[in-house]
Amino acid sequence: MASCSRSKPLLGTFVEVDLVADVDQPTLLEASTRVFDRITEIQGLMSFHDPDSELSRVNRDAFKMDVPVSKDMRRVIASALELSLRTNGHYDISVAGAITDGKVLPNRTQRHHPIDWQAIRLGEDFVRFERDLQIDLGGIAKGFAVDCAFDLLAELPINFEQIVVNAGGDLRMFDWQDQEVTIRRRRRTVFVRQPMITMRNRALACSRSGYGSPSSVAVDVSSGKIRRSSRTWGVFAPSCMMADALTKVVGLRVASQHLIRHYNAQTISIPNTGQAELSIV
């Protein structure tokens, strides 16, 4: 049994890949390289910060014309729009317009942009904005990248014993039952870790708006303001993309039981002061 454990700075955070399988070490390292290549590809498509990314092209041109998009981009935007519909617009990727103040996201246009997911038209292979929008996939693309890594590994002729891909806390496991995970939180100036929690589904994503990475924010769509959250929210889901996206909705406290059930998800909330209590909603 061989194992390989690697970490690279990608997607604005650290992407960690742990693989265990009954093959030789070079085969596992090669598999991990392919995972990182795939995640680098997704970063090249979906980075808001990279002016040459596909996303930046969409933001630049989609108000003027139909912009052709990759299958990956289409999948992510389609999932985001579905979640917008199900949350009555509380989840909205066009929220970028409210946070392009240079602190969270760079403002390239020097214009004010509306927040309106309903103005996004997604065709078979193109996207078009009916208003002068800016979209940001920061709240979904990391999870999507993790899922893509799993799709890629599933196609390899390797019988994995364990796969863990962790994109800065958005993580998914192959053998997840009874596996334990620690939640990293930041209190004042230091990190704190809680005793472990047990995985309840394939993927787990956590979020605490306004803390951690500077880009880790949840925006109240009605006011356009950043919400700072007093607690960390976690979502277990079958896919890392939905776990990632749902943390934003759960963090804004607008997730209904019905919505969580629809995505076969479970949520946990971890307060940042006092004793850690895990509540399974």
Binding site: R6, G169, R186
Partner: protein, 191 residues
């Protein structure tokens, strides 16, 4: 690589540098000690092979002058902590550099490949260390360690294989890479 055939848990070194009991005592008298958690990913040879494949790299002793350090800091807008650069070069003129990136809570060993044209060809995290503080103020957390010796503490820590939570930024790494590319531009390419 001696660690190649070992299982994941053995390969990942996680250490609690302070025993829980000592930590608890210090916490009760108001001093907040730090606990360091570390994870080992790759050995230097593994990282070099991943970035450059098999090939001969020889150490090149590089020591930056004060002027060079100042200039690199100015251009990269990043603090230059060390004048010594742990650098290796092959016959083509490609570089393999071992570096350390220090943030507020983290201390990360990285390996970076810069090719003969100054382009970054690969970045690997070798070891990641993170320090924790406040959790040991929490009596429930401390209680985990009562009556345990160091090996049990280590065992407990080994169970912590995965960490979720608010997203960590890799900005310090980005700054570190920027510092190294500027170092190549201003110094290494002329050696």
């Amino acid at each position: 690589m001696n660690s190649r055939s070992k299982p994941t848990q053995a390969k990942q070194s996680r250490r609690l540098l302070l025993k829980g009991g000592v930590a608890g005592l210090l916490a009760t008298i108001g001093i907040v000690p730090r606990i360091v958690w570390s994870k080992h990913y790759l050995d230097v040879d593994e990282a070099r092979n991943l970035i450059w494949g098999e090939g001969d790299f020889s150490p090149v002793p590089v020591e930056l002058s004060k002027e060079q350090m100042k200039s690199i800091r100015k251009t990269s807008k990043t603090r230059v902590r060390s004048k010594k650069i742990n650098a290796f070069r092959n016959e083509n003129g490609d570089w393999f550099i071992l570096d350390q990136v220090i943030g507020k809570h983290e201390n990360i060993d990285i390996a970076v490949g810069i090719d003969v044209a100054g382009k970054v060809r690969g970045i690997e995290v070798l070891e990641y260390r993170e320090s924790y503080g406040y959790e040991i103020m929490n009596p429930k957390w401390r209680a985990q360690f009562h009556g345990r010796d160091a090996s049990e503490v280590l065992k407990l820590d080994k169970q912590i294989r995965n960490i979720s939570g608010a997203t960590l930024s890799c900005r310090h790494i980005t700054d570190g890479i920027n510092r190294l590319t500027v170092t190549w531009e201003q110094v290494l390419q002329y050696i």
